[in-house]
């Protein structure tokens, strides 16, 4: 008697074999440094034929890690730091960026960009946009724009502006299209002005410009086109923010840098990155993004994070939506035919 046994594959083939958890983001820092070193030497020194790198330093963990990596790979004489505060910068931005530059022993320059921003009308244009929805907004009041948290229900996350008047009173208003675009366009001057100065120094020293976005920012379009989105090399764009913090520890960055919470440092009221852009705190965004990038289902991701599959689905939809917007931010100029 011949017995025929047929096995039916019940489970779809998975890219992964490991159960989803935060531990999947654990990085082999030594190995990763070697990988980044190869790319940095090959591109900056051999391909671009530049003598070193310039980078803007905000005192945040991303720019601090990139600076430390560059010093380790190229030597401190080939790394130049630019500290570029403006009148809305957080009080500790300048001191932390200076601390980091001196910790690394690199040459640096401080350029207060407030005068440039005044002349180009950054503050005036932003304030005019705010006054469309909060007419009593006065010069010297503090402001930020914020998104509502990703709620339990499906809803649009629409920006509002929050204002703190000089007497401490708070006011907020939902932004209509013109006000939202007006505020973003005006504040984008800040990132673009900084990039302009980075390239000035880079050109004058025959250096390349190092950008400092992490993977979450790069993937999700959390940057300004021709502002912080522009650079010759982006050494940590492939690292999740969680991994950037691991590298910060591996590179022995000062504790005060490693423990500073991520901010946008763009508005005069303190603004967290999840208020401005992301659905969740960065460590949770990293996990969802990692899960999406590595073929885990919403249920698997949720189980590993203590969230429902439905909550994860909403974050995944938000990620996908932002990726579509990021296409424009990443796009090279369109040309009619292949020129080179």
């Amino acid at each position: 008697m011949v017995v025929s046994i047929t096995f039916k594959l019940e489970t779809p083939f998975k890219m992964h074999q490991r159960t989803f958890s935060a531990a999947l983001l654990k990085l082999d820092c030594e190995k990763e440094m070697a990988r980044i070193e190869t790319v940095m030497r090959e591109t900056v020194l051999r391909q671009f034929r530049k003598k070193g790198v310039v980078l803007g330093m905000s005192g945040g963990v991303d720019s601090s890690v990139v600076a430390a990596m560059a010093v380790r790979i190229l030597g401190k004489e080939r790394v130049f730091g630019l500290l570029m505060p403006e009148r809305d910068s957080a009080g500790d931005t300048l001191s932390l960026s200076k601390l980091m530059a001196e910790h690394l022993g690199i040459e640096y320059a401080t350029e207060d960009i407030s005068p440039i921003l005044e002349v180009v009308g950054c503050y005036r244009r932003r304030d005019e946009a705010i006054r469309r929805v909060i007419p009593e907004y006065a010069e010297g009041d503090k402001n930020k724009i914020a998104l509502p948290a990703l709620g339990d229900k499906q809803s649009y996350r629409l920006f509002k502006v929050v204002v703190q008047h000089k007497d401490g009173r708070l006011a907020e208003a939902n932004l209509d299209l013109k006000s939202y675009l007006g505020i973003v366009a005006a504040t984008n001057f800040k990132q673009r002005t900084r990039k302009m100065l980075e390239y000035y120094y880079a050109d004058s020293m025959n250096f390349a410009v190092a950008g400092t976005p992490n993977r979450l920012e790069y993937d999700q379009g959390f940057f300004v086109k021709l502002g912080d989105g522009t650079a010759d090399i982006k050494p940590i764009a492939h690292l999740y923010k969680t991994q950037v913090y691991q590298m910060a520890e591996f590179l022995k960055l000062p504790e005060i840098i490693r423990s500073r919470p991520p901010t946008t440092d763009t508005y005069s009221l303190p603004q967290s990155q999840e208020e401005f852009y992301f659905s969740l705190p960065y460590d949770k965004m990293d996990q969802v993004l990692y899960g999406k990038n590595n073929g885990y289902s919403a249920a698997e991701i949720g189980q590993g994070m203590g969230l429902s599959a439905e909550q994860v689905e909403r974050v995944l939809a938000d990620i996908e939506g932002k990726r579509k917007v990021a296409n424009y931010l990443h796009a090279a100029p369109a040309v009619v035919e292949d020129i080179r």
Partner: protein, 83 residues
């Protein structure tokens, strides 16, 4: 009022640049990628300016705005409240 045609024309001209084939009355504007978060603001501005109404923050939900059918239903309900 023929909300359906007016809203369809607005979406086709503002987001589809004349390509109306991809838009049905029940097409999800978000899921299909026709409208993003800035586009929602554009839609809200169009509805407020065209129909002289104020859309409150609690009304800016997909149930009211995510397809032509849903927008038409939302506008009809608002019209009925005023009448």
């Amino acid at each position: 009022m023929n909300y359906t045609n007016e809203i369809r024309e607005f979406i086709v001209s503002s987001f589809l640049f004349g390509d109306r084939a991809s838009l049905q009355d029940d097409t999800s504007l978000l899921d299909s990628g026709i409208v993003d978060s800035t586009g929602i603001l554009e839609l809200i501005t169009f509805l407020e300016d065209t129909y002289k109404l104020k859309i409150e923050p609690e009304e800016t939900i997909p149930d009211n705005l995510d397809s032509i059918n849903k927008v038409v239903r939302f506008l009809s309900e608002r019209q009925a409240k005023v009448a």
